[in-house]
Symmetry: C2
Subunit: 315 residues, 2 copies
């Protein structure tokens, strides 16, 4: 299963069509200042993500002087593993209609195998292979179980044995110490409760919490669509910039969690959230250079900057 997600053959060489992004944090310095700003990159766990391209590009942007934390997903790998091992994925629907993974204890174990054992492992390999001092870290997110309410046969029930959680606290000290040493922390979407239970947490919102706790300049969410779309099935309907309110009004399906994550990050002081494609070559450089959707605190900024230069807020 991981062979397809993390191919060993070298491929997707840099196209060179995107200019190097302007460093956000360290200005012109190639050595990031201790305690300087950070970019948090969230990369989705769906099958379409080009993990090698993401890792190579994150390495390139880090080498240019950015301090980066990578938070990844694990959904597709979990589905494959769960199906193969005879505990197929199940979905719960909340009273408000939100779908999420049913995470009983066995599913949590499979999720951990996919998240830590496939995705964290694979990203650390790929990042190291392209020169970034990546280090996988499990335990930097403290959380609590969510009260998962599900609609079952027309009734709302509270699931008592569910290991879906929410992030409540970030180990800023540990992440800062690693960043100050020039490391690139790679975090799975797993929290730990005070009782020592692993918890399946939403990767977008976990990344938002990390970005907020670290005072990040930007949260970049790389996903399997080009950004926020006015019309879900029409990639040409990309919204280049949106306020939080606009983003929430437009978001459908899984984009709702990203809009929620954007609000949590921005209201905690993160300057901007970029939602962009993780299926292209140089995905992070493209996102930083203006592709995808920028979500900002309030009024939509003037459009037209797409692909031209980093927007003002980034510099």
């Amino acid at each position: 299963m991981s062979r397809s997600a993390f191919p060993r053959t070298r491929g997707s060489a840099s196209s060179g069509s995107i200019r190097d992004p302007t460093p956000i944090g360290g200005a012109c310095s190639a050595v990031p200042a201790s305690g300087g700003p950070v970019i948090v990159v969230k990369v989705g766990g769906s099958a379409g993500i080009d993990r090698r391209a993401v890792a190579q590009d994150v390495s390139a942007v880090a080498a240019a002087g950015e301090r980066i934390v990578l938070v990844h997903g694990a959904s597709a790998e979990t589905d494959v593993l769960a199906t193969t091992l005879g505990h197929p994925p199940r979905t719960v629907v909340s009273p408000s209609g939100q779908q999420s993974r049913r995470t009983d204890r066995r599913t949590l174990e499979l999720f951990a195998m996919a998240a830590l054992g496939v995705e964290t492992f694979g990203y650390v390999e790929l990042l190291r292979g392209s020169g970034a001092p990546a280090i996988g870290v499990f335990g930097a997110l403290a959380g609590a179980r969510k009260n998962v309410r599900a609609v079952e046969a027309g009734k709302v029930v509270l699931l008592r044995d569910d290991f879906t959680g929410k992030v409540e606290r970030i180990d800023v000290e540990a992440l800062r110490a690693l960043l100050d040493q020039g490391k690139l922390p790679v975090l799975p979407p797993l929290a730990v409760s005070a009782e020592g239970e692993g918890l399946n947490v939403d990767g977008d919102r976990a990344a938002a919490a990390v970005a907020a706790a670290l005072g990040a300049n930007a949260l970049v969410i790389l996903t399997n669509v080009p950004g926020l779309l006015r019309s879900v099935d029409d990639p040409s309907s990309l919204v280049e910039a949106a306020s939080l309110d606009e983003a929430e009004a437009l978001a459908q399906g899984r984009m709702k969690k990203k809009a929620m994550a954007a609000r949590e990050a921005i209201e905690a002081g993160v300057r901007q959230v970029i939602v962009a494609s993780g299926r292209v070559d140089r995905p992070l450089a493209r996102a930083l250079a203006g592709e995808g959707t920028r979500i900002l605190a309030a009024a939509t900024e003037a459009g037209g900057s797409r692909g031209a230069r980093p927007p003002r807020a980034l510099r």
Copy 2:
């Protein structure tokens, strides 16, 4: 598979029959001094290890003021997963007769899932649940591929696609930073090569390398036997103390790697290596209090201290 290795039901409550170990590092202080001495604990990956007892006891010793790094194995979980997923474990025999796991790329992936996704995950859960600030770290061991030579059909062949490695460098900076924050790093037996390849490394020797790099006071190897035995099938033939030469002369089977690890640790300045049972209640406290086999640099120390008090070298 992990349900048996990491049971969720609370059990194996502290028997209270062993007195609390004398702190090695921080003398009488409950707060470990920054940069103070460290104990590296290696816990084997075989099925018989009582992981809950190990985690609870490591937590208790850490709470008493010790700075601890835990390195774990992953052999039994890898075997179960590999068999379940249709890529059964294979063994290679070296020209000198040593057996080791054949680690082709797929086996490496399964090994990573078991090591990071089951064992690191499970130990962080159990340690957090008993109050220790555990943090799983992947990427702190840098290594290189071994030239694995195998005897196949009477001929010696060099395996070109094998991901068995040796540890060459420890990220002391990262581990020290985490220890200085009071964290308890948990490390899987996985290294990363300069090319970004994950590598299956021997856990005992990896723990020895960590102990050497951190200038540890002691390396405690918890395994599924009571220690070094004069007669492999007779637990009553336990050797209470041995020099490196004696340990190497007596070691058979998998104990040979432990003797090798002991030499590597002690010759790099680690004061002593203790090989003791990981199948008992309070395994670390027992080991520190005198159970198991102490391996010291030179002449065998006088026996008779077993269970009575920590030997002189520990204080």
